[in-house]
C-alpha cells in the first residue's frame, strides 16, 4: 500500500454452483464505508457473504483485497476462513452454549493478534448494552440479546472486513435505532469496512455508502447509494418505496409553527420540527409516490414544499397506470411517480420546466 489516499478495493471473481442456483459475481468494489447488498430472497446474498468468508470451499475464481489474496484458483490458493481476518455475523446468533456471554465475547478477542485489536471489551459491551448479560448463559438470552452478543463477539475479533447478514432482523425498533448509529461510525472510526446484507430498504438507506443490487446470483448494478436511487433503469425505481435519497442540513427552526427548515443544494424543505441542532447533516428520502407535478407554480395549496424542476427523463413504471419521472433541481435529482394519464394530458417531456409538490419527506438518519 502506497498510502492512505489509495482507494482500497475488493476484487472478486467468484462462481459457485449449488443445484440449480449459480452465484456468478465478477466486480471490483470500493473497500471503504458500508456496502449494502440488497436483493430479493434467493438472490444469493448469503451465499456471496459465505464465499467472501471462505465458508464455501467449492467456490471457483479469485478474491483479493488490495494486496491480500484470499483465493486464486490459478495458483490453487484458498486461504481458510480462520486465517482471512474476516468477521461475519450470521442471521442466527450461533453463540457457544457451553460458554457464558463474557467468554463468548472474549473468544475472538483472545485469538486476535494484539497489534490488530482495536476495541476493548468495555467499549463493545457499553455500545451494545451488554453489561447486564455478561454472566448469563446464551440459553437465557432473547433473540435480540443473542444477536447483539454475536455482533460484539465478531467486532472483538478485530476483523479487517466485517460481513453482516441481516444482523438486526431479530431486534426491535428501539434497539435498532440504538445500534445502527454505532454500526454506521465503525468504518470511519476503526477503518473497518462493512458489507451489509439487508432486505429492509430503510436500513440500507440509513447505513449504506455504496449499494450493490444482487439478482438471481448476479450483480445487476452497484454504485454510490444516492446515485443508485436516482436511476430509472434499476428494479429499485420500480419499488413502491422508491425515491431519491439526499443529504440536507438543518438550517432553521420555526417554534411558532413548530417547523424545521432543511437546506440542500441551495433549495429549502420545510418539515415538522426536528430535535436536531442547526447545522446537523441528515439523510432524507423523498419517495417518488409523494411527489406530484404542476406546470404552473401552484397558488393556494396546503403543500409547503414546492420546488421548481426540470424533467430530465421519463420511464414506464411496472404498473401500466404509472410513469416514473426524473427531475433535476439545482443539480439535485428527485424522482416522481405520476399516472400515465396525467403525464399524457400535461404532455410531459424531457427538458420541460415543472413544479414538484412534495407531500412528505422521510428522515432516515
Amino acid at each position: 500500500m502506497s498510502g492512505a489516499s489509495t482507494q482500497a478495493m475488493l476484487q472478486m471473481q467468484l462462481r459457485l454452483r449449488r443445484g440449480d442456483f449459480v452465484l456468478d459475481v465478477n466486480d471490483t468494489l470500493p473497500h471503504t464505508g458500508i456496502i449494502a447488498v440488497f436483493g430479493p430472497s434467493g438472490a444469493g446474498k448469503t451465499s456471496l457473504l459465505r464465499c467472501l468468508a471462505g465458508l464455501e470451499p467449492a467456490v471457483e475464481g479469485s478474491l483479493s483485497l488490495n494486496d491480500t489474496t484470499w483465493q486464486d484458483q490459478t495458483r490453487k490458493l484458498f486461504v481458510p476462513p480462520h486465517q482471512r481476518g474476516i468477521g461475519m455475523v450470521f442471521q442466527e446468533a450461533r453463540l457457544f452454549d457451553h460458554l457464558t456471554v463474557r467468554d463468548n465475547l472474549e473468544y475472538g478477542l483472545r485469538r486476535a493478534p494484539t497489534a490488530q485489536r482495536r476495541l476493548t471489551l468495555e467499549e463493545v459491551t457499553t455500545a451494545l448494552h451488554l453489561e447486564p448479560l455478561l454472566k448469563h448463559a446464551p440459553q437465557q438470552l432473547s433473540g435480540g440479546e443473542a444477536q447483539r452478543v454475536a455482533l460484539g463477539r465478531t467486532l472483538l475479533a478485530s476483523p479487517q472486513l466485517l460481513l453482516l447478514d441481516e444482523p438486526l432482523s431479530a431486534l426491535d425498533r428501539t434497539l435498532k435505532d440504538a445500534i445502527l448509529p454505532f454500526l454506521a461510525q465503525l468504518p470511519g472510526r476503526l477503518g473497518l469496512p462493512i458489507i451489509y446484507v439487508s432486505h429492509t430498504l430503510d436500513e440500507v438507506i440509513r447505513l449504506a455508502d455504496h449499494l450493490l443490487l444482487l439478482e438471481d446470483g448476479r450483480i445487476s448494478s452497484h454504485g454510490p447509494l444516492a446515485d443508485m436511487f436516482q436511476r430509472l433503469d434499476l428494479s429499485l425505481a420500480q419499488r413502491d418505496d422508491a425515491g431519491a435519497v439526499l443529504e440536507a442540513e438543518v438550517n432553521a427552526h420555526d417554534d411558532h409553527y413548530h417547523l424545521t427548515t432543511l437546506g440542500f443544494a441551495g433549495q429549502q424543505l420545510t418539515v415538522s420540527r426536528l430535535a436536531y441542532a442547526i447545522g446537523t447533516r441528515l439523510r432524507l428520502q423523498i419517495k417518488a409516490r409523494d411527489v406530484s407535478l404542476t406546470l404552473q407554480p401552484p397558488a393556494d395549496t396546503t403543500i409547503l414544499n414546492i420546488l421548481p424542476c426540470t424533467i430530465s427523463a421519463l420511464a414506464s413504471a411496472r404498473s401500466p397506470a404509472q410513469t416514473l419521472i426524473k427531475l433535476e433541481t439545482a443539480g439535485q435529482v428527485l424522482l416522481a411517480r405520476v399516472t400515465r394519464k396525467s403525464c399524457e394530458q400535461l404532455d410531459l417531456k424531457p427538458g420541460m420546466k415543472v413544479y414538484a409538490q412534495i407531500k412528505s419527506v422521510v428522515l432516515v438518519a
Binding site: P81, G87, F90, G108, R111, A150, R153, T154
Partner: protein
C-alpha cells in the same frame, strides 16, 4: 467366606474396565468424529462393523478372537514374536477383546454428541480466528462433555458386565482372567451361593448406579440446563 477370593475378581474387573475405557476413549474419539462428519460411502460400512458386537452372540466374537489371538493367529503370532507371550488366556487378551466388544457403547454416544455440535458453530468459531484443532478443543470437546461422560460410563459398565467373550478367550484363571461375571458363574457351579450372592448383588447395584447416571444426564440434557 474367604474375602481374598472375593476381592481378587473385583479388582481384576475394575482394572480391566479401566484399561478398556481409557483405550476406547482414545480410539473412539477420532473414530466418532469421523463418523459424525463423514458423508462418504465407507461410513455405513464402518458404522455397521462398530455396531456388530451389539447383535452378534458373544460366542461368535469370542470364537474369532480366540483364533486371532492364538499363537498362530493374526494378532497372536506377531505378538508372540515380539513379546514372547501368548495373548489367549492372558489379561492383555482380555483387554483387546473388551475393547472390541464395548466399542459401540463408546462410539455411539460420542458420535451423537459430535453430530449435535453443528457445522454452524464451527463456522462461527472459524470466523473468530480459531484453527481446526483449536475449534475441536475449544468447541467440540466441551460441547460433547455429556457425551463423553455417557460414553465412559457405558463403556466401563458394559466391560464390567461382559461374560461370553471373556469365557471364550480368557477362560477362568483366578487372579489372571477370572473377572466378576466369570467368578459368579464359577461359584454357582461349585455351589458357593454365599459368594455368588455377594458378587451378584454388588454388580447389580453398580450397574443400576451407572445407568442412573446416564439417564439422569439425558434427562438434564432434555431439560436444557447447562453444566
Amino acid at each position: 467366606m474367604d474375602t481374598t477370593s472375593l476381592w481378587s475378581p473385583v479388582l481384576l474387573t475394575l482394572q480391566l474396565a479401566t484399561y478398556t475405557t481409557v483405550i476406547l476413549l482414545l480410539i473412539a474419539t477420532p473414530l466418532a468424529w469421523w463418523l459424525a462428519r463423514s458423508t462418504g460411502r465407507t461410513k455405513p460400512a464402518v458404522e455397521a462393523v462398530v455396531a456388530l458386537p451389539l447383535v452378534l452372540p458373544p460366542t461368535v466374537l469370542g470364537f474369532y478372537l480366540l483364533i486371532a489371538l492364538g499363537p498362530h493367529g493374526l494378532i497372536g503370532a506377531p505378538w508372540l514374536a515380539v513379546t514372547g507371550d501368548t495373548l489367549s488366556f492372558s489379561f492383555t487378551g482380555l483387554v483387546i477383546g473388551s475393547v472390541l466388544y464395548s466399542m459401540p457403547f463408546v462410539v455411539q454416544p460420542l458420535q451423537t454428541a459430535f453430530a449435535a455440535t453443528g457445522e454452524q458453530l464451527l463456522e462461527a468459531a472459524a470466523l473468530l480466528r480459531a484453527s481446526p484443532w483449536d475449534r475441536f478443543v475449544s468447541i467440540v470437546l466441551p460441547s460433547a462433555k455429556r457425551g463423553f461422560i455417557v460414553a465412559a460410563t457405558l463403556g466401563f459398565a458394559h466391560t464390567v458386565g461382559e461374560f461370553g467373550v471373556i469365557l471364550m478367550i480368557g477362560g477362568n484363571i483366578p487372579g489372571k482372567t477370572q473377572v466378576l461375571s466369570i467368578a459368579i458363574y464359577d461359584r454357582v457351579e461349585t455351589l458357593q451361593y454365599g459368594e455368588a450372592h455377594a458378587m451378584a448383588a454388588g454388580l447389580l447395584l453398580f450397574s443400576f448406579a451407572a445407568l442412573l447416571l446416564v439417564y439422569g444426564l439425558n434427562r438434564r440434557a432434555r431439560a436444557g440446563t447447562v453444566q
